[in-house]
C-alpha cells in the first residue's frame, strides 16, 4: 500500500500518530524497494562469477540494453496503474518505426521502397504520431465500444505485427534515417544518450504520479473508477490519454531500438510483452490497477536484465539458460513478495 501512500506521508506520519504500528510503516516505506534485495543478491553473484561484472563497461552495457524494454515497462506500468492492459506495445515498438520510414524513405534506390511522401527529418515525429494513433484506436475500442482490453490489444498485437510484415515485406530495413541512428549512437557524459533519456522519462513520470493532480487521478481511477467518476474525475478521458501515452512511449522505444541496433528487423520486439509484464509485476505494480510505482517497475527491468547479464558472464550452459531464467523470475517474485510482506492480487 505504501506504494500508494503520498510521498512523505508515511515517513512524517510516524511521529504524528503513535497508534500507527512501526511494522506497517516500514513495509510502507519498503514496498517499492522490495526488489532491491534481489538486485543486491544478483550483483553479489555477478561479482563472484566474473571480475568483469563490476566494470563500468559492463554495467553501462546492461543499462543501455535495458533502455528499450524499460520504456515499454514505463508505458505498461502507467496503463496498469489506471486499471487497463495493453499487450500491443510489443508490436507498436516495431510497426511505428516501419510506418514512419515507409513514409519518409525514398521510393527508389535503396532496398526498401518507401513512399518518400514526407521529408526525412519528420521520421521521428511521424513515428511518435503513429504510436499515438495506435493508442487512440485501442482506447476507442476499449472505452467507447467497451470491448475487453486484454483481448482487443491481443488482437492488435497480431494485427500490427502483421501490418509491419506486410509493409516491410518481412525484410529488415537497413538504411534508417540518421535522426534514428543519432539517438542510438551518441553518448552524453560517458553514458549512452538513450540511458539518460530513459532516466529522465522515468523521473518525470514518477514525479507526475506522485505530485501531479492528473497523475494522482490514475491511482484513483485504477482503485475504483466509479468513485473517481463521482469525484469529478474525467475517467474515460484520462484513461484514454494514458493509453495514448503508453503507445507513444512504445513508439519512442522503437526509435531507440532502431538506433541501438542500426536497423528495423521484422520481428523487432516480438515476444517482449511477457518480459514487460514480468518486469512490471515483480516491480510491484498490480495487475488489478491502482497500485505500484515507476521506481518499482524500473527495478523490475534491471532485475531481468541483470539475470541475463550474470548468466552470460557465468557462462551458463545454453541448454539450461531458459530454465534458469524462468526459475529466477519466480524466485524474485517470492523474495519481493516477502520483502514487501504483502499478498499479491
Amino acid at each position: 500500500m505504501a506504494a500508494i501512500t503520498e510521498p512523505g506521508l508515511a515517513s512524517e506520519a510516524a511521529p504524528a500518530a503513535a497508534s500507527v504500528p512501526r511494522r506497517s510503516l516500514n513495509l510502507a516505506r519498503y514496498r517499492d524497494l522490495s526488489l532491491v534485495p534481489v538486485l543486491l543478491v544478483l550483483a553479489l553473484i555477478g561479482f563472484i562469477v566474473s571480475p568483469a561484472f563490476l566494470t563500468s563497461a559492463n554495467l553501462l552495457g546492461v543499462a543501455q540494453q535495458s533502455t528499450e524494454l524499460s520504456l515499454l515497462v514505463l508505458g505498461e506500468a502507467l496503463i496498469l496503474v489506471v486499471g487497463k492492459m495493453d499487450l500491443s506495445l510489443e508490436s507498436t515498438i516495431g510497426v511505428a518505426p516501419v510506418i514512419a520510414m515507409w513514409l519518409v524513405l525514398p521510393s527508389h534506390g535503396g532496398r526498401f521502397q518507401g513512399l518518400g511522401a514526407l521529408p526525412t527529418w519528420t521520421a521521428i515525429p511521424v513515428c511518435l504520431l503513429v504510436g499515438a494513433l495506435i493508442g487512440a484506436v485501442n482506447g476507442f475500442l476499449i472505452l467507447k465500444l467497451r470491448l475487453n482490453g486484454f483481448i482487443v490489444t491481443l488482437g492488435a498485437l497480431t494485427m500490427l505485427r502483421g501490418l509491419q510484415v506486410a509493409i516491410s515485406q518481412g525484410q529488415s530495413i537497413v538504411e534508417v534515417p540518421n535522426s534514428f541512428l543519432y539517438l542510438g549512437e551518441t553518448s552524453w557524459l560517458g553514458a549512452p544518450a538513450a540511458v539518460w533519456i530513459c532516466l529522465v522519462l522515468f523521473a518525470v513520470g514518477g514525479a507526475a504520479l506522485a505530485w501531479l493532480r492528473h497523475g494522482r487521478a490514475l491511482y484513483a481511477i485504477g482503485g475504483n473508477a466509479e468513485a473517481a467518476r463521482t469525484a469529478g474525475i474525467r475517467v474515460d478521458r484520462i484513461t484514454w490519454t494514458v493509453l495514448i501515452i503508453g503507445s507513444v512511449l512504445a513508439a519512442f522505444a522503437g526509435v531507440l531500438y532502431t538506433g541501438h541496433y542500426g536497423s528495423v528487423s521484422a520481428d523487432q520486439g516480438s515476444g517482449w510483452i511477457f518480459q514487460v509484464f514480468a518486469a512490471t509485476v515483480i516491480g510491484g505494480v498490480s495487475l488489478n490497477g491502482g497500485k505500484g510505482t515507476l521506481f518499482g517497475a524500473l527495478t523490475g527491468v534491471l532485475t531481468l536484465q541483470l539475470v541475463v547479464n550474470v548468466m552470460t558472464l557465468a557462462g551458463v550452459p545454453p541448454l539450461w539458460n531458459q530454465f534458469l531464467n524462468g526459475l529466477i523470475i519466480i524466485v524474485a517474485l517470492i523474495i519481493s513478495r516477502y520483502a514487501s510482506g504483502e499478498k499479491q492480487e
Binding site: N58, V165, Q171, S172, Y261, D267, Q305, V308, P318, N321
Partner: protein, 326 residues
C-alpha cells in the same frame, strides 16, 4: 478470392499438375528472397500452383495448410518444415495419398520425402570454422551466435562448428551464445562478452539476416569496427549471403559469409516438385548443376553448393545476393 481465380487460371496452364507451396515464415529476409524467386520462376515457367500459403513458423499451421492442398488437388507439395520431427505423420499421410513432397532447407527426421533441397548446414559450420581458424592462425577467442536450440539447422551449424574447432583449432576459445534468432539478445550478450573479454577477435554469426546489423551497430558504438586488415579488426564470418552482408564485406566490416542459395532453393524446389508430379525419379550421384544427390533413409537429398563468399568473390554475379530483385 484468389483461390478460384488461380484454379481457373491453372486450367489455362495446359493441364499442368497442381503444386502446393507453403512458406515457412514471412518475417525473415532470407525466406522473403526465397519467396520472390519462387514467384519469379512460377510465372516464368508458367507453372500451375495452388495459392501459396504461409505457416508463420508454426508446424500446426503447416499441417493445416497441407491438408488444404490435399483437398484442393495438389499433385506435389513444396514445404520447408522448420520442425523436422512434427512433420513425420503428415508425410506418412501424404505418402499414403501418393502426393510427393519436396522439403526445402530442412531434412525431416521421419516420413517419406521425394527430395530434400538444401545446402548442408553442417558444411556451413565447418566452413565458418575453417575460415576463422585460418584467419586467426589457430588461436584466439571467438563468439558464436547460435540460433534457437530448437532449430535443426541452427543445431547442425553449432555442432559442426564446435567439432571442427575442437579437432583443428584447439587453441581457439569459443563462446557459444544462444539468441533464439533475436538480434537484440545477440547484441546484449556480445556486449557482455566484450566487457568480459575485450580481446575478442572473432565472431561467427549463424544468420546474417538476424545478427548482422545489431552486431555492426554495437561494434560501431564500441569503436571496434576496424576495417579488415587493420590491427584490432575482429574477424567476422556470417551466414545467409543476403545483399547486406555483401555490402558489409565490400566495406571490409565483415570478412566472409556462407551464401545459402535462396535462388537455387526456389529453382530446384519447383524443378523437383514438377518432376515428381510427372512421375520422374532420380538416383543418388552428381547432378548437372554442380551438386550431389545423396540417399537418405526416407528419401533423397540434393545438396546444393553453398559457396563461401569473401572480398575476393563478393562481386560474382552468380551469387543470388547480387541478383536479388530488390
Amino acid at each position: 478470392n484468389r483461390g478460384s481465380t488461380t484454379a481457373s487460371g491453372s486450367s489455362a496452364v495446359a493441364g499442368k499438375p497442381a503444386i502446393g507451396i507453403d512458406l515457412p515464415r514471412a518475417d525473415s529476409d532470407f525466406w522473403n528472397s526465397y519467396a520472390q524467386y519462387l514467384r519469379g520462376d512460377i510465372s516464368s515457367q508458367g507453372l500451375n500452383t495452388l495459392p501459396i500459403s504461409s505457416s508463420q513458423n508454426d508446424i500446426t499451421k503447416l499441417v493445416a495448410n497441407v491438408q488444404v492442398f490435399e483437398n484442393t488437388g495438389a499433385k506435389a507439395i513444396v514445404m520447408a518444415p522448420q520442425d523436422t520431427g512434427a512433420i513425420a505423420s503428415t508425410l506418412d499421410q501424404l505418402a499414403a495419398k501418393h502426393i510427393p513432397v519436396v522439403s526445402v532447407d530442412t531434412r525431416p527426421d521421419k516420413g517419406k520425402v521425394y527430395m530434400v533441397v538444401r545446402a548442408d548446414n553442417r558444411a556451413y559450420g565447418t566452413k565458418a570454422c575453417q575460415f576463422l581458424g585460418q584467419q586467426l592462425h589457430g588461436k584466439g577467442k571467438v563468439a558464436e551466435f547460435e540460433g534457437d536450440l530448437t532449430s535443426v539447422n541452427g543445431r547442425d551449424r553449432s555442432e559442426a562448428f564446435a567439432d571442427c574447432m575442437k579437432q583443428n583449432f584447439p587453441n581457439i576459445q569459443v563462446f557459444p551464445l544462444t539468441t533464439n534468432w533475436d538480434g537484440a539478445v545477440a547484441s546484449s550478450k556480445l556486449q557482455t562478452l566484450l566487457a568480459q573479454n575485450p580481446d575478442l577477435n572473432g565472431i561467427y554469426m549463424q544468420a546474417g539476416g538476424v545478427f548482422l546489423q545489431p552486431t555492426l551497430a554495437l561494434l560501431q558504438q564500441k569503436g571496434l569496427l576496424k576495417p579488415a586488415g587493420t590491427p584490432g579488426h575482429i574477424t567476422i564470418i556470417s551466414n545467409d549471403g543476403i545483399p547486406q552482408e555483401f555490402d558489409a564485406i565490400r566495406k571490409g566490416e565483415i570478412d566472409a559469409t556462407v551464401s545459402q542459395p535462396a535462388d537455387l532453393y526456389a529453382k530446384y524446389a519447383l524443378f523437383y516438385a514438377e518432376a515428381a508430379a510427372e512421375g520422374k525419379t532420380f538416383q543418388p550421384g552428381p547432378t548437372d548443376h554442380g551438386s550431389t544427390i545423396i540417399q537418405l533413409p526416407n528419401g533423397l537429398e540434393d545438396q546444393l553448393p553453398a559457396p563461401l563468399v569473401t572480398k575476393a568473390n563478393v562481386d560474382d554475379k552468380s551469387l543470388w545476393g547480387n541478383s536479388v530483385s530488390n
